[in-house]
């Protein structure tokens, strides 16, 4: 795993030649050695990568390619950082929550549909914006940002977990999601607001929830 947790708000990554890494712009706190940071422009890598690039560029948070040899400290906005290790499975995460991740991970985007785009579903339904969620698949590590600490809730068959979409950070595993609303919740928060729904995650895997209803 290339990320070492220095403290709850900072991770240290080791960069070795021939192995690139991606990070969010502005996430580098300090570095040692010969490391270069190159902005990722749509089309540069082609294929799926360009989709992420485009999507992220839309939100003015372009990814950077980190290459060279040395160590880099990452952190951003005083947010808490959760390092998620992937061993062959897929992590679903909002692109703007990605702090840094292994270049070896296969990146993709999940379109809003029957399975994907967790925030997309919510936003698409409620505000009509943002239609994809980033997926990362393979073996490697991902550093994800969250406002406040993160708790990991297991999802087991027959015991779905309901999550406030504002507090949702990421999930992995074989998980289905749909929007639901709890009895009485809509009356409380007001109809038509984005908070009127919860994400119902079922299957087997885990969901990461932050200790806040605030988006980054």
């Amino acid at each position: 795993m290339p990320f070492r947790e220095v403290n709850s708000k900072m991770v240290e990554a080791t960069v070795v030649p021939g192995q690139r890494m991606y990070s969010q712009r502005g996430a580098m706190l300090a570095y040692r050695g010969d490391v270069s940071f190159t902005p990722n422009i749509a089309g540069g890598q082609g294929g799926l990568m360009s989709m992420i690039g485009r999507r992220v560029a839309d939100e003015a948070t372009p990814l950077m390619t980190v290459e060279g040899s040395g160590t880099v400290m990452f952190g951003h906005g005083g947010h808490h950082i959760q390092v998620v290790g992937l061993e062959g499975d897929t992590l679903y995460v909002e692109a703007d929550r990605l702090l840094a991740f292994d270049g070896t991970l296969e990146q993709g985007t999940m379109f809003m549909g029957s399975q994907g785009g967790v925030m997309g579903m919510v936003r698409g339904q409620v505000t009509g914006q943002g239609l994809f969620t980033t997926t990362l698949r393979g073996h490697g590590a991902v550093a994800v940002m969250a406002h406040g600490g993160v708790i990991e809730l297991p999802i087991t068959p027959g015991r779905p977990v309901h999550v406030d979409p504002q507090a949702y950070v990421a999930h992995h595993g074989d998980v289905r999601n749909k929007l639901s609303t709890a009895l009485g919740w809509r009356d409380m928060v007001g109809r038509g607001s984005g908070e009127a729904f919860q994400l119902e995650l079922s299957g087997s895997g885990a969901v990461y929830v932050q200790a806040s209803e605030e988006k980054l």
């Binding site: 403290n7 900072m10 300090a30 422009i41 951003h76």
Partner: protein
Amino acid sequence: MNTPVIHDPMSLPGDDNVDSYTFCVELKGSQWFLQKGKMIAYYGRIDFNGVGHGSLDRLMRTSFHSPLHASDWVVAEGSGKMLLADRAFDVNSFDLDDGNLTIRAGNLLAYQPSLALKQSIVPGFLTLIGTGKFVAASNGPVVFMEPPIRVDPQALVGWADCPSPCHHYDHGYMSGVMGGLRQLSGIGGASGEEHQFEFVGAGTVLLQSTEALMPEVATGAVPHADGVPGGGHGPGRPGTTPRLPGQLGDLQHRFGL
């Protein structure tokens, strides 16, 4: 169930952390310099006087040499224990033994008068010289690094012993597509990836997580509505944005730092 620790004047530590976010200073007829707004509670008899108060003239001559920050500091003197904190940032004390350390002005919370405070030649930083204890806040625990290292200016808390930093601009980034694009359009300022402070030589560099924080929400504010007394903004300073460590507040604007 975990029961909370209950503190009283006897159980509070003397000149040490209560927890990661709160520091307890013990005064036994002694004095401490204190940045305004950082004292959250105290036991005992403690007087607070603004820097510049006549009776403190002698103290000022030895320990305070920063006219730029004079209005941000008070002197606490008396007997008792007082708790210091800064917007739930991590708080730590550091001991200097005939040394010098330069720190971002807003990160410094308090120091003993046995130290002398001077303005660094790097704008926005203060240098402490001498022997004694000081208390500083940081976003996340302070991480100590040794040069050579390049640091995002925002992530820099301070440095000890090493020569002053110089600017480093990443050539690849500036000449890259993004740099050119931004130069043309003027959109998006420099981020840590294009511009760093570079430290070389022997010493220690202190780092924190960057500090763009959520805007502070006025907790406990009465919402504005008809017939609600005190609704809307309280008297004075409506919508004051919180000061981040490393910012100097009004002075910063005034002096264009």
